[in-house]
Structures are given as structure tokens and as C-alpha cells.
């Protein structure tokens, strides 16, 4: 039987919205876990680098993955739907997961981004993701000649 006295934490986004979460879910974020273990928890915990829109999504993921009644395949199904978001949101989520040190979320997001980048040519990826090429012509030639072993 779960205790009715589940410890709760309050997380505050950069735009001052407050979210109540179970401590047991929140400690999936090592940044928060360390605060809890070092007894440095202020009330609420300010997360200066995460806005409310993104924090709400992080909490949605966090709570789903903390549910002990869900099987791994159910969590995977959730993940598949969760990452169907605009690419910009995925980048913001990566930044948040990095800041919060939330390994599971990071892995799912990085995998998604990686899959979107693979099997395109370098020029196509640059165009698709608006990546500025800061190589000179000589540097680019040298980079092309690197790592022949990877393509054998």
C-alpha cells in the first residue's frame, strides 16, 4: 500500500509558474536528487533555465516513467508519442534534460534527434537543421579526408 503521505516538491519555472511533483518522481533528475540528498531543498526549487511550457513536458515524462504499474513496452509506447513534437521543442527539452541531469529523458531525446539526422548527406543535414558551415574550403577538404576507416 502506498503511503498517503507522499513527499512532494514544488518546482518553479523561469517564468515563475509553480508545479507540485512527487519527490519520488523528481529524483529521476539527478540535479534535484542531489539537492534532496544534501538537504538543500528550498521551497519552491527555482529552475532558472527551464520555462513553464518545457517544465510541464518534463514533468509529464518524469511522472510516466516513475509509474511502477507500467511495463517497459508501455513506457516505450509513451516515449514514441512524446517525441512527436516540433524539433525546436525537442531542442529545448534536451537543454532542460541536460540542466536537470535527467538521463532517461536525455537518452530518448538524443535518440530521436539522431534518427532524424542519419542517412542524409552533410549538405542536406545543414539545410534541414539550418547549421552554419564555419569551415574554410581547405578545412572542409581535410575533414572529408579524415576517418577513412569508418567507411570501410
Amino acid at each position: 500500500m502506498s503511503s498517503s503521505e507522499e513527499r512532494k516538491l514544488i518546482l518553479k519555472s523561469s517564468d515563475n509558474e509553480e508545479f507540485v511533483v512527487k519527490e519520488s518522481s523528481a529524483v529521476q533528475c539527478l540535479t534535484i536528487k542531489n539537492l534532496v540528498e544534501d538537504r538543500c531543498v528550498s521551497d519552491p526549487i527555482p529552475l532558472a533555465n527551464v520555462d513553464s511550457k518545457i517544465l510541464a513536458l518534463v514533468i509529464e515524462f518524469m511522472e510516466k516513467h516513475a509509474e511502477t504499474t507500467l511495463s517497459n513496452s508501455e513506457k516505450k509506447e509513451f516515449d514514441v508519442e512524446f517525441v512527436k513534437k516540433p524539433f525546436d521543442d525537442l531542442l529545448e527539452l534536451i537543454l532542460a534534460a541536460n540542466y536537470l541531469d535527467f538521463r532517461e529523458l536525455m537518452d530518448v531525446l538524443c535518440n530521436t534527434c539522431a534518427k532524424q539526422m542519419e542517412n542524409w548527406s552533410v549538405e542536406e543535414v545543414r539545410e534541414k537543421f539550418n547549421i552554419q558551415n564555419d569551415y574554410t574550403v581547405e578545412e572542409e577538404k581535410a575533414a572529408r579526408a579524415e576517418n577513412p576507416w569508418a567507411f570501410e
Binding site: 523561469s14 533555465n49 537543454l95 541536460n98 534527434c113 552533410v122 539550418n130 576517418n147 567507411f151
Partner: protein
Amino acid sequence: MGAGFSSLATEKKTVTHPSNPNISDLPESCIASILSCLEPSEICKLARLNKTFHQASLADVVWASKLPENHEILVKKLFSEEGSSESLSKKEIFSRLCRPIPFSGDTKEVWLENSSRGICVAISWKGLKITGIDDRRYWTHISTDESRFHTIAYLQQMWWLEVEGNLEFEFPAGNYSLFFRLQLGRASKRRGSRRIINNLEQVHGWNKPVQFQLASSNGEHVASKCYLNEAAGKWMHYHVGDFVVENSYIPTKLNFSMAQIDCTHTKAGLCLDSVFIFPIETVNKLKQF
């Protein structure tokens, strides 16, 4: 987290319509995490996107998961002239392991199979104990491009075919298969022309099976009999058996052999190249077997 991250956060607060976050504005550690989800060839390709991606592609975290868990032992054993493995980045270790590394003189090679991340070993006939190998009545040694060691042993004629070998190596934990690479009949190349198969008339004595054996230090022992009279003139990998490695940190000792010592008939016309050891995943992927 780095400067890129905090400047992004500042941008969001001060600009009413923030410019879209760009993937190359992510901290290098995040880009490295994305790259580590990809295959080596994709990583090296995306490293060319820009300097940030290039720098991120060099991070140890990208390559560490692609190395066998005992790679530090392998580096000590195989790169002895480089000093300790601490001086090499994980990427350098990976790139060096992907190419065949000779050991035991020129008689053996080891490499990391790119597609399946498994350690593979090839042992030339020169690293095996072959009865009568130095007697030119029985065996000749032929230089050829058809072997990764550029040499094969050709059995002209002999009653007693016996080939034995052993290996002690720190295989990473997993399941492996051992093969003899053999061909009946001797191919020869005339300069400028395609490979021509001749001397098939000299092939005889293979209507009785050859015995193969494999024993490993974890107590496994496999023995089998196999007929070699399959498509002559083609190199074949004859499967001797499988072995399991449980501990990556203890050397696995293997003893293996092939023999046909039935003295009622002579054997002739066999090309012996080498013994191969592959992880089972590689065997399934390469589909040559």
C-alpha cells in the same frame, strides 16, 4: 553546460520573438550525446557539419560505448609501443582496433568488426602446427592475394593430414564461432587475366570426412566430421564449433584441429589459408557462411 546554454537562456528572456534554437547551439556534451546514438560512419560524416560537431565527435563518451568492455586490456596487449591507454582517446582506440592488428609475429591478426562491434581473430596457416609442412613432397607454400596473410599452404599429396592450433586471447564476453578457411583445388592467376581454376584433377581423397575439433578453457569441447567435397575451386569457411566467453578479463585458451589420418588413402589438392574466429553476431551479419 557551458556558455552556449546560458546565452540561449538569456536570449529567451530579452527577445520578444526569440530566434529558433539551433541544434549547433546546444552544449557540446549534448551534441556528443546525440552523436553517440549513431553508427561510426554516421558520426564521422556528421563531424563534418561544422566545427562544433567536429569537436563533439571527438568526445570519449561518443566512442566508449562502441568499444569492447575490456578494451583497456586489448590496448595494453596490442599497442605496446604506444605506452598506456590513458594517452589515447577512445576514438583513437576505436579507429585503430577497426583495422587489422598483427600479433604473434605475422601469423595472427585481430580487429574490431565495425558493424557488430565484435572482436575477430584470424590465424594464418603459418601460426598453426601442420604435420609435414616443411616437406616439399607434401606441402608447398604459395604467395597469393586470396589470403589476408598473402600466403596459403597447398597439400600436394599426403596420407596424414593433421593441422593443429591454439590461441590464448582476451575475447570480450560473448559467443563465438571458429572456422577453417579451405579450398579444394588450386587456383592460379595468369598475369592480366581473371582467376582461373585448374588442377582439379589433382584433387582426390576427400570422399571420407575430415575431423574437426575445438576445445576451450571454460571446459567446452566440440568434435565434428565434415566432408570437404563441396564446390571445388571456391574458398569455404568450415564451421568447427562455437565457444562462449563469460569473463572478458581472463584470457580464453583455445585448442583446435582438423585431421584426416586414415592411412588407407592419400589426400591431395587442398588449400589451407587460415583459421577465423568471429562473434556469432558477425557470422549472422556477414552471411558468407
